[in-house]
Amino acid sequence: MYTTVTYDGSFDGFLTCVFEIYERRLSNIIIKSKHLFESELFGTHEHIITDNNKSKRVFDGLKKHISAKGCRMLYYAFLSELNGIENTMLSVITYTFKSKKNIISDYSHQDVLQLSKVVKKVGREKHRMEAFVRFQQTKDNMYFANIEPDFNVLPLIKSHFTKRYADQKWIIYDLKRKYGLFYKLESTEIITIDFDLNHSKKDWFTDDEKNYETLWKDYFESTNIEERINTKLHIQHVPKRYWKYLSEKQP
């Protein structure tokens, strides 16, 4: 018989579940974000309230064994939002506390290996977003970009964009998860906007905007060396699902 424990969807919430599982010696557990939980016919269900003190104790305990790098890997995996990732993480955490060693690179353990694969995917997505975000300048002098990443990478790209674009206001908005980052020259905050995407986007942007998009597209075209064309390699680097972001790829 399984018990499903649910949490509020935050990383701290997840760690609080881990705390409770240890504290109360629960077994046969499935951890799930409450947003994804549908009450089950069999098994029992309990919702766990996020408690930052408890989550911190788990985090600090983990850090002692798998160092900051290992903790970062858990966070990356968490942001993948993959179905069942919480239980893979729980297994890695259990293995850590049992062996009391830094096992984060012991790839002969199946869940450690699985975790590292997910981390790699999330890391790749983070880099791709840092590369493929394309800002458009709005009439009120803001730089705006939409993304729809496979994983929830906004928290991971925040620091990169904040450091780089320190003298311009910008927004990066995740259309899939319906929230965004907004940098207003002092700090970067989380925002949600209700926009009407049917509303003609053209009205938002400056006239220059179109010109620069054209120049960039021209530039992209002229980097080609006809004699060397290799489409397979090109698509390997820029998978087609990312083309929608790239102004140089628009007709």
Binding site: S105, Y107, A166, Y212, Y219, F220, T223, R228
Partner: protein, 420 residues
């Protein structure tokens, strides 16, 4: 400024610049100071890829394609009948800033044909970089081309604003240079390289004493050689390369397969295939020298003046040195593991890491993701089963070339397959 005019200039001057294959934006570490614009990190970002799979991270353009020289291998040469254009300093600054703000690029790579004189040209390149840094508070990446023959004073100033400086050798041998670029002297390349190297050393040592000493070309210098334009051997290319790495502390040497741009009798004919595979083998060799601890003479020497095209240089070396194999993955040191065909540095690290936990057997190697189809002929591990048959070098080569279906056969994907 009129948009159409800018557009036309960009088309001409980007097209003329694309033959320079270097597009790296890595190796610098400029922080964003005083809430300015941009930074550059040690890992560059590729913002898109060309249709032949090369990384696009910089706005790579010529300031002008007017040139007083007539180098046979170059589209910009004086005698070539093409459209010419020239950017104003401010136009380049505006393009760079506006591309950068939209997250199109990591920075600017500015080169130029030589108009009037070397110094006159270099002065303008420096002016662009200076404006970007001082007026626009721009901290993104700047790569300037050193114009052969430019004065020491200008080269010193260039390094204060640029992250990287490069002067392209283009032709690997002195004789080839004489034949194809009679206006240029070997010394004109060497002089700016020497100057920049010395300045880098001087600024670094001053920085140790006085913290506020400005950065000088923090991403170092690089150069490019054209491959297959002057009938040179791979040995000549790599020995030159090796000399440049050692003598001038170059960060990178780029190899660019010659793309026929002229009916000149001294050069391969128009329509000749670009030697992409050869180029790839040279990059692999370059990599072996810089990161795998190989000496250039182990790979290329008078008995083997050219690289094999059908197998990579590490495998080729291993087949000539079978007496050094097999190696035991549980005991061999890092540098020996790195010499095993089929094991890249990533795999080497995986092995080093995993063997701390247990004695590795074939299953372990597979689980941690080490590809064995090549390596298995060259290693042993904690298992009674291993390749016991004593293959001859030619037989082994046969097996390996035969085995490498699909992926490996088509793997000559330019420098990208390899780590740029």
């Amino acid at each position: 400024m009129s948009f159409d005019r800018i557009r036309e200039k960009l088309n001409i001057l980007a097209d003329a610049a694309k033959y320079d294959v270097s597009c790296s934006s890595s190796g610098s570490n400029r922080k964003n100071t005083n809430k300015g614009l941009g930074n550059s990190t040690s890992m560059g970002i590729c913002h898109t890829y060309t249709k032949d799979g090369r990384c696009v991270s910089l706005l790579k353009i010529l300031l002008t394609n007017h040139c007083i020289f007539d180098c046979a291998y170059c589209v910009t040469r004086k005698s070539n009948d093409i459209k010419r254009a020239a950017f104003k300093v401010q136009e380049v600054v505006d393009l760079t800033i506006n591309f950068y703000r939209r997250n199109y690029i990591e920075g600017l790579f500015l080169s130029s044909g030589i108009f009037k004189s070397a110094d006159y040209t270099m002065e303008r390149l420096v002016a662009v970089a200076k404006k970007l840094r001082l007026e626009e508070n721009f901290n993104g990446y700047i790569h300037l081309k050193s114009i052969p023959g430019a004065s020491d004073e200008l080269m010193r100033e260039a390094g204060l604003y640029a992250d990287r400086l490069s002067v392209n050798i283009e032709i690997p041998t002195k004789e080839g240079l004489k034949k194809l670029a009679p206006d240029k002297k070997h010394d004109d390349f060497i002089k700016p390289m020497k100057k920049v190297k010395n300045e880098i050393i001087q600024y670094k040592s001053e920085k140790k004493i006085i913290k506020s000493t400005p950065k000088y070309a923090p991403a170092g210098q690089s150069t490019q050689m054209i491959i297959g334009a002057s009938g040179e051997t791979d040995m000549q290319i790599m020995y030159t390369s090796n000399y440049l790495y050692n003598k001038f502390d170059l960060k990178r040497v780029y190899y660019s397969g010659y793309i026929p741009v002229s009916y000149d009798k001294r050069l391969p004919m128009i329509g000749t295939e670009v030697p992409v595979l050869r180029e790839n083998r040279l990059y692999q060799t370059d990599w072996l020298l810089r990161f795998y601890g190989f000496d250039v003479r182990e790979i290329l020497n008078p008995e083997h003046p050219d690289l094999d095209l059908d197998i990579d240089p590490k495998l080729s070396w291993a087949l000539r040195n079978l007496h050094q194999f097999p190696v035991d993955v549980n005991k061999a040191d890092k540098m020996m593991l790195a010499r095993v065909p089929g094991l890249g540095m990533v795999s080497v690290h995986k092995i080093l890491n995993a063997r701390r936990f247990r004695n590795l057997n074939w299953e372990h190697l597979k689980t941690i993701g080490v590809k064995l189809n090549r390596a298995k002929y060259f290693i042993t591990c904690n298992s009674r089963y291993f390749e016991t048959r004593d293959y001859s070098a030619s037989k082994l080569k046969d097996i390996l070339v035969h085995n490498s279906t699909g992926k490996h056969k088509q793997a000559f994907t330019g420098q990208l397959a390899l780590f740029t």
